[in-house]
Amino acid sequence: MRLLEMKGIKKFFPGVVALNGVDFDLQKGEVHCLVGENGAGKSTLVKILSGAYPDYHGEIFLEGQLVRIDSPRTSRNLGIAAIQQHRDLVPTLNAVENMFLGQEIKRGRTIFWREEYSRAREMIAAFARNIDLNIPVSQLSVSDQEIVAICKALLSNCKILILDETAAPLDRQERLILFQKIRELAEKGLGIIYISHDLEEIFEVGDRVSVLKDGQKVGTREVSKTDLREVVKMMIGVEQESLIARQGYAKSAQPLLRVKNLTVEGKLHDVSFDLWGGEILGIYGLAGSGIEYIGYALFGIVPTSRASEIYLHERKVHLSSPEKALKMGIALIPDDRRTKGLISIRSVGQNIILSLINKQKRTIVSTSWLSNLSKEYINALRIKTPSHLQMVEYLSGGNQQKVLVAKMLASNCDVLVLIEPTEGIDVGTRYELYRLFRNLAEDVQKGIILISTDLDQILTLSDRVLIFSKHRLQECLPQQFTKQEIFEIALSSTQNSLTSPAKG
């Protein structure tokens, strides 16, 4: 009997279909890995299991019984323990309190501190780490926090353990210990779902692997019967041949933008590159590598070190704020349109003009001017909206993204920085935007920097590709490499900086 069976799981968010009929199953004593690119739906699937998304469609069977997971408590009672990310810890509590949150060890009504401390010590010791159990976890390093979160799940006497991107902050040594623990638990009969971006891990710890793409399951394989190539192929998918990288392009005589030694404390280290007019420069990195900070730095959102130098049209500029960046002619589409991109309670038109009016320091914003300008962009980008007066929150994800793009275009800037510009939108709109970006790059006056973790996108659009890893820009590649190879380079660049010899 299968430990877990999920049938036809669908989950919707306003404007986005996160999961579109996914089946998944888990056996007792198995480590089943779940992989896919950003936005493929892995976390969503797992959040449904942990009770964070109670309104899903489809059926879930636990040991043959149909269950409805409507809250985290229900999920725990059913024996499911999930570690999503270290941020699901309470930052002000210490490690012990966090580990036992919701599962305190008690003597009658009183919490049995001593016992909790000793059990916690035991678990931490198994990871060969010395973590201060008395300070708030917010003061621990990210990898320490991750270990605390892992221990919390391990302590919960669960039947199903879910690990979502847990190993990322750990070093080689700790990963090996984690994998060992996972195998031990599997031997005890637990079912384990393991999500990771690091494909090599799948082959170290997994029994089976399932690949998700765009909210659907591509396939499931036994780990022993497949290899990295096949998995990557399933993840990345067959190219949509409708758009291939352009062969040659007109470049401007001088570089539009020169970046030298760009350093953001803790995130970027000595990043240098040039952007020419008329080109699309792709910057690729794995999720969590911090590539978005290049965009933030160029837009004046984060402070840069003194050594950083940015030259626009051969003139040195100081981009101390977004206002300044806009005036200099740099525009940004940030990642996460919901929190950073759009003002959801404002209308389409109001969002579109926001950057422009601040750049121009316009005194009067007349209704007719707003209406005409926004209609121009609504038509040009084919934004599906009843009118420019419609509040942005009612638009579908793809159309919201188009509004963001319109805002950027309306500000008339020469350097366009795009961070994950097509995340979480449907394929049709995605290609519309690709074509748009291509067209924009035909203008030799403009240059586009595409910062993305979506390899498809990078290769389809970029004229040049830079690979970013471990806070640094590592390689500069011409178009000739295949997806597979680039992916592996980005991957292995990460692995090479680990302390112990890489496996395989």
């Binding site: 919707f12 968010f13 306003p14 404007g15 309104d55 837009f299 959102i301 704020s321 977004p322 206002e323 960046a325 806009l326 940004l332 940030p334 929190t339 950073k340 991109g341 759009l342 003002i343 959801s344 309670i345 404002r346 109001q350 003009i353 926001l354 950057s355 009016i357 601040n358 750049k359 320091k361 316009r362 005194t363 009067i364 914003v365 007349s366 209704t367 509040m391 929150e393 009612y394 805002k407 500000s411």
Partner: protein, 328 residues
Amino acid sequence: MKKHLISQFILYTFRNYSVYITFALVLVISGVVSRGIFIRPTNLWAILLRSSILGLVSLGQMVVIMTGGIDLSVGSLFSLSLTIMALGELTSMNPYLAIVLALGGGTLVGLANGIIVVTTNIYPFIVTFATMMMLESFNLTILGAAAFNFPTIQRALLNIMTFLHLDETILSVGIWAIATAIIFFLCRYSTFGHNLYAVGGNAIASTFSGVNAKKVKVLSYTMSGFLSALAAVMAAYRLGGTNVGAGAGYQLNSIAAAVVGGVSLYGGIGNPIGVAIGSIVIAMLLNIMNILNVDPFIQNAIQGLIILAYVAFSNYLQKIKIEVLERQ
């Protein structure tokens, strides 16, 4: 699809138009309950004056709330301006100068509020709470338990009114109308207005769009300070003097007027016309409660309940809207 349009429609209507319904309701019910006393012309005139004073304060409050903050010091700013005028009287200062100083004082404190909020990142309600307490204390120290009159200032104001050929209420209402019109214009047709709504709607996204959120916030608190001071000047003629209790309750009244007028306490939603009508509604409410001899404490409690009801109800509508959006 239909359900979502309906919920969108309801929320939009509620926010923008409920104030007119409330206005009509309060008018009618007050008229009936007071057996006609309420709708006597002299009474209505008094309500108008009160609305204009409250209206100015509420306008300032609205601007601050729209940036996602709140100004609890408006009542004390009102008192402060009156105190400055009283001091001017005491020191035989030129009354016109005293009036200007009163306006300036309020504006400066408002500016201080804004700067503190923006530079220290302390919650606005704590900052304005502290400012309020400090100003109250200051007023108390200067005025003590006594009442102060400022006849010279009164005469100066009378001169201004005769010069303009305007009666007190009309002048007050006129200034209020002008202020509302200016703010309305700013909100809808100026970059500042768009930035104001943007910062209130999503401060982070507004920064990513190039809005200088700090400047917007500082300006909003300064405006609130100025408008509260202006309201005090308008009220000065009728009041003729001040004592330690003056200005008490304006923070509550202005928040109530804003909320009734469709302003969301989370920021980013609201319009000056609604707040203007909301101020009239609250002024009417206060008036009818006085006619019915409802005690001030109870009056406050009722305003509190109104604010609570509005906030709870709009939260409820929000929840429905989100549920509908998700179910698509």
